[in-house]
């Protein structure tokens, strides 16, 4: 940094040619970036890409893992479940985060599945909505556009505003598959790119409903029952609440040592009880 500021100050002391100054700047930038570029190649590096749902959780795991093991580097990127799996098969990453199961055309028989958490999707409404329970048929009707007024499901006479996730979302894929029988949600639905934005949108929009991972269901919105069952750890574990899915880490065959260690850490009791349990249901004891 010091050399850059020297170069910038030089017009007072006599002007080196423009080229020389530009070259110096580039040289300094290269020098600075060299160590970063080198570290990517080392054996102690785990490269991860995939689901944006899993990104905060895995990033947190990576930070803790690196604090614990100074000789390891874990690089986590998003991109979406499909991108992660594609990059895993191309050998670009060591681990693919996925918020869904493998599709048939992705399964080449070599990918290993590591389940790291159970995610429960809660149907949430704006606190002003006076409905506590929706049947399976009602949920499907609302999200596909057949039911457009709260009056039809026992609420007040007000239009229903549906909030859904974007097409790239594993949460949406799972919700469409289980709750909507693979039908698409209504075209007027507001699309949001993350759980957090769904929460804010539902919280601030009267007469709205949407769906989020249960860890995001806080006091600003209200989680309602699905077919008479409240979303939660117990109901998801015993199978009475159907809107749940496993979150996965895929590796290509048996993972390398560094990747193996990281997955072991993510599955460890410490990480599962301290971090995973804040938003999801831990897989230990399932």
């Amino acid at each position: 940094m010091k050399r850059i500021s020297n170069a910038a100050a030089s017009p007072r002391t006599g002007k080196p040619p423009l080229f020389a100054r530009a070259a110096l700047l580039i040289a300094v930038l290269l020098l600075v970036s060299l160590p970063a570029a080198c570290s990517i190649r080392g054996a102690g590096v785990v490269r991860i890409a995939g689901s944006t749902t899993l990104l905060p959780l895995v990033q947190d795991g990576a930070d803790r893992f690196m604090d614990m093991r100074g000789d390891r580097t874990v690089l986590v990127q998003g991109g979406g479940s499909s991108v992660g799996i594609a990059q895993l098969k191309e050998g670009i990453v060591d681990i693919a985060n996925s918020s869904r199961e493998l599709k048939p055309d992705e399964d080449d028989g070599r990918l290993m599945d590591h389940r790291i958490a159970l995610d429960v999707i809660a149907i949430v409404v704006n606190p002003g909505v006076g409905v506590d329970n929706l049947t399976r048929e009602q949920v499907k009707g609302i999200f596909t556009g057949a039911i457009a007024n709260w009056r039809e499901v026992g609420g007040e006479d007000a239009p229903i505003i549906t909030v859904v996730r974007d097409k790239a979302s594993g949460t949406r894929e799972m919700f469409d598959e289980i709750a909507l029988d693979k039908e698409d949600s209504v075209a007027s639905a507001i699309e949001c790119n993350s759980n957090g934005i769904v929460r804010q949108t539902v919280a601030s929009t009267p007469n709205s409903l949407g769906y989020v991972s249960i860890g995001y269901a806080d006091a600003s919105i209200r989680a309602i029952k699905y077919d008479g069952v409240a979303p939660g750890t117990e109901s998801a574990k015993d199978g009475s609440y159907p809107l749940s899915r496993y979150l996965h880490m895929f590796t290509s065959g048996e993972p390398r040592e560094a990747a193996r260690e990281f997955i072991d850490y993510v599955l460890s009791e410490e990480f599962q009880t301290e971090v995973v349990s804040q938003e999801y249901i831990p897989v230990i004891g399932l």
Binding site: V83, K167, A168, A187, Q200, T205, S208
Partner: protein, 281 residues
């Protein structure tokens, strides 16, 4: 002399690099959007309003409609405000007050769009929702946000145009007994017409390309609508919403939307050229 030549070469390199960059971007976007045009089909892509990538429907009309309506809405609100501010700055305001307002408008140009969008999301959308008893998202909210964003462009360029008019024009008008308002309306605005038009078109360019702020308040729906308070999307908001996991023809269809944006931008540039050339004659 050698140094002179070096600098010349350096500047030439800069210029050709930026020209090359725009050429490469254009070629790249065109190439990437080809699969959608050949496999999806032209009518499916450009003449349909059904966006359902799972079923191979890539109609972009709903989003093109959203882009055009939000842009026009932003200009309807922003252009009179901007031109009015410019007239005030150049003709009415005392020097110090004018300086303060000018700084304020320039500051507005520097506010990142995500901040304006967030403001719209937390203040504007709930307000519209309360007043109109709707969700609040839609073309109306996006237009207001865009009006704020085009305001600095239109104001500064219009003010610049007015300032560059020969002072004799105003002096002659006033000495003929015209009032200030008559001078502004009858002499200065017609004389600066081309420059103000260019200012509005450049503002339009900004509005068409704006992504973040619009995405936050437009509702991000797939439906074609002309209503101000129903959710819809724009070309840019759709690209940024779906690009995360789009592959194959789906991805290519998004690039086709980018191509349409690029063509819109080119049309704007061409229209500016036509206007300024007309003036030179």
């Amino acid at each position: 002399m050698a140094r002179e030549r070096y600098i010349k070469v350096l500047l030439f390199a800069c210029a050709s690099l930026s020209f090359l960059a725009i050429l490469l971007i254009f070629l790249f976007i065109f190439r990437e959007s080809l699969p959608a045009i050949t496999k999806g089909g032209f009518p499916n892509l450009f003449l349909s309003a059904t966006w359902d990538p799972d079923k191979g429907r890539y109609g972009m009309l709903a989003f093109l409609n959203g882009t055009i309506l939000t842009t026009l809405g932003g200009l309807v609100l922003g252009a009179p405000l901007g031109i009015g501010t410019a007239i005030f700055l150049d003709q009415v305001a005392p020097r110090r007050m004018g300086n303060i307002i000018r700084r304020g408008v320039e500051l507005l140009a520097g506010i990142p769009s995500v901040v304006i969008g967030w403001f719209g999301l937390t203040i504007l959308v709930p307000f519209i929702a309360r007043v109109t008893n709707s969700a609040g998202y839609g073309i109306g909210a996006a237009s207001v946000v865009l009006a704020v964003m085009v305001l600095p462009t239109i104001t500064t360029l219009s003010a610049e145009t007015l300032r560059s008019l020969p002072p004799e024009l105003k002096e002659a008008s006033v000495s003929m007994g015209a009032t200030r308002w008559q001078t502004i309306r009858g002499v200065l605005l017609p004389a600066g017409r081309e420059g103000i038009l260019v200012a509005v078109i450049l503002g339009m360019g900004r509005a068409i390309g704006e992504t973040m702020a619009v995405q936050m308040v437009v509702g991000n729906s797939r439906q074609l609508t002309f209503s101000l308070t129903r959710g819809t999307g724009t070309l840019t908001s759709r690209i940024v919403t779906d690009m995360g996991e789009a592959t194959g023809v789906f991805r290519s269809a998004l690039f086709a939307q980018a191509l349409v944006l690029l063509i819109l931008a080119m049309l704007l540039i061409i229209s500016i050229r036509l206007i300024t050339r007309q003036k030179e004659r």
